[in-house]
Amino acid sequence: MSNLEDLYREVILDHYRTPRNKGELPPPAICTEGANPLCGDEIRIFLDVADGVVRDVRFSGHGCSISQASASMMTAAVKGQPVADVRAVAKRFKQMMTIEEDDGQAPADVRLGDIEALQGVVKYPVRIKCAVLGWNTLLAGLDSAKA
């Protein structure tokens, strides 16, 4: 289906079929749950944060191709990164998803890399929630790590 090519790009389907960092981390890793009440998707993000760095990350749960691929790409992008950089990437991603305005807070040099492939989701507003589910759950996890 040609019309859906910009939504279901090959890199997205690859992450959906072969998710990266799928699984769980044992305590004391932080476990944060997120859900999309509209469609019943549920996700858990496990974070090992030390010295201001996301040393390891996993995700589990179930959801559509967009939510699963987005979570997979997210974990690949943030693993080993300083928390401040992770937040900047998350901010840039949410700006791309048009749910956060570009307030100039995120450094201009933040690169989304493969994650750019999710740009096509914006044309399908109902799916934006699927794409950001993992990211919001990650941010909630980082907040609880700080607390």
């Binding site: 859906l4 939504l7 279901y8 469609c39 019943g40 998707d41 559509c64």
Partner: protein
């Protein structure tokens, strides 16, 4: 005479719409139905020519509007075979009707340790109002389980109902399509000394309803699933129950007298209709009842049995084990609502691909999360049909599903 689907479809302007220059296949009628020209015109004409407050002002136009409003009530009463139109209360939707049952009857009649029986088939509207009451009053909720063939398991029913004060159940599952034996269930409730509360959201639009034949005590349903507008629902209950129940919402319209230190309630059914009601929508619902009665509810049911047969065989013949339909096989005990899993593809992705073919299905938990957990699905795609659905809609679904495989 069998139902002339082509003629019926011509009465629904939206079904004639094309998207991306292709016809649309609306398969989400369990969610909400489309509206025939007669309903749209009745509401439009009423607003243009007769609109006025009802039950308040004494000028002739207001009196005419009140008569139209009450005439719609009479139509609804006849449609469900109520003994009198005093038993028909207009609410905002079926959800509000079920909340009315729980908050008015439930709070007045249930105390700590009392039992309300529900079923695993219920959607959130017939679960959460009772859970709210359970939390407040310490009421126990018991659940009637399902059989492997997606029916209610009646074997433990008598035991579950023992000591129960109310049995609230759906007459047709919005997920499985299962049609429940409402009359038997009402009898079982009464044998245990419980009242029978029927959630008719899914069955009332699709087959004849007879509250007297059922021997039910209360019934809730919505206008928008039966060709009427949104914004109005129906709460029906036996007159003696309505008489004994305290008012639900307070305000204008539901009183006969208000003093600084007290108030007295209006006569039935106005006692339960506080504030200005959805006047135009009630007129629309009356027109929807006229429309459905003109077609004939037994014809609607017969058409949907035929379509269920056609869809079941078309889907399973083409896809075999690649499609799992969560619901009974026998079309006599089910409505034309198909929840399904397809080749392990997530329902959101299924519905996204179907959308490209103008095939509109719902993906998700269908506001019945406990049931979804029981059938082992976090979400399903659901294709649901109505009197205007035809074999072309089914064929389009079957064809479009093939495209799902080409992507996933």
């Amino acid at each position: 005479m069998t139902l002339d689907v082509a003629a019926i479809r011509r009465e629904f302007p939206l079904l004639c719409r094309r998207v991306a220059d292709k016809p649309i296949h609306y398969l989400d009628s369990a969610n909400t139905s489309h509206k025939p020209e007669s309903v749209i015109n009745a509401m439009s004409t009423f607003m243009r020519e007769s609109y006025s407050p009802i039950g308040r002002s004494s000028y002739s136009l207001a009196s005419e509007a009140s008569d139209s409003y009450e005439a719609a009530r009479t139509k609804v009463a006849r449609f469900i075979n109520a003994r009198t139109s005093r038993e028909v209360v207009f609410t905002r939707n079926a959800t509000e009707s079920l909340n009315l049952a729980a908050q008015s009857w439930g709070r007045a009649n249930l105390t700590r340790g009392d039992v309300v029986v529900l079923t695993h088939m219920e959607h959130h509207s017939n679960i959460v109002p009772w859970q709210m009451l359970a939390k407040e009053k310490g009421v126990e909720i018991r659940w009637v389980p399902l059989t492997k063939d997606f029916q209610l398991d009646l074997a433990p029913l008598e035991q579950l109902l023992r000591g129960a004060k109310a049995f609230a159940f759906t007459s047709m599952s919005n997920v499985l399509g299962t049609i429940n034996p409402t009359r038997e269930l009402c009898a079982a409730a009464h044998a245990a000394g419980a009242i029978a509360i029927v959630d008719g959201c899914q069955s009332v639009p699709h087959m004849a309803t007879d509250v007297q034949q059922w021997d039910a005590d209360m019934l809730a349903f919505s206008s928008h699933k039966m060709c009427g507008p949104t914004g109005v629902g129906v709460f029906w209950a036996r007159e003696n129950l309505l008489d004994s129940m305290p008012p639900f919402l307070g305000g204008g319209g539901m009183i006969s007298e208000v003093r600084l230190d007290n108030f007295t309630c209006a006569e039935l059914p106005h006692k339960f209709e506080a504030g200005t009601p959805p006047i135009v929508e009630v007129i629309g619902l009356g027109a929807a009842v006229d429309f459905l009665e003109r077609v004939g509810m037994s014809e609607v049911r017969r058409h949907e049995i035929e379509l269920t047969n056609y869809a079941y065989h078309a889907l399973t013949a083409r896809y075999g084990d690649d499609i799992t339909i969560h619901g009974p096989v026998n079309p006599e005990v089910r409505g034309a609502t198909f929840s399904f899993a397809f080749r392990g593809v997530h329902p959101h992705d299924v519905s996204q691909v179907l959308d490209q073919h103008n095939v509109y299905v719902r993906a998700g938990h269908h506001c019945a999360k406990p049931l979804m957990r029981l059938i082992g699905a976090n979400a399903t795609a659901r294709a649901s049909m109505y009197l205007y659905s035809n074999e072309a809609d089914v064929d389009a679904l079957v064809e479009a599903l093939d495209d799902v495989s080409s992507i996933f």
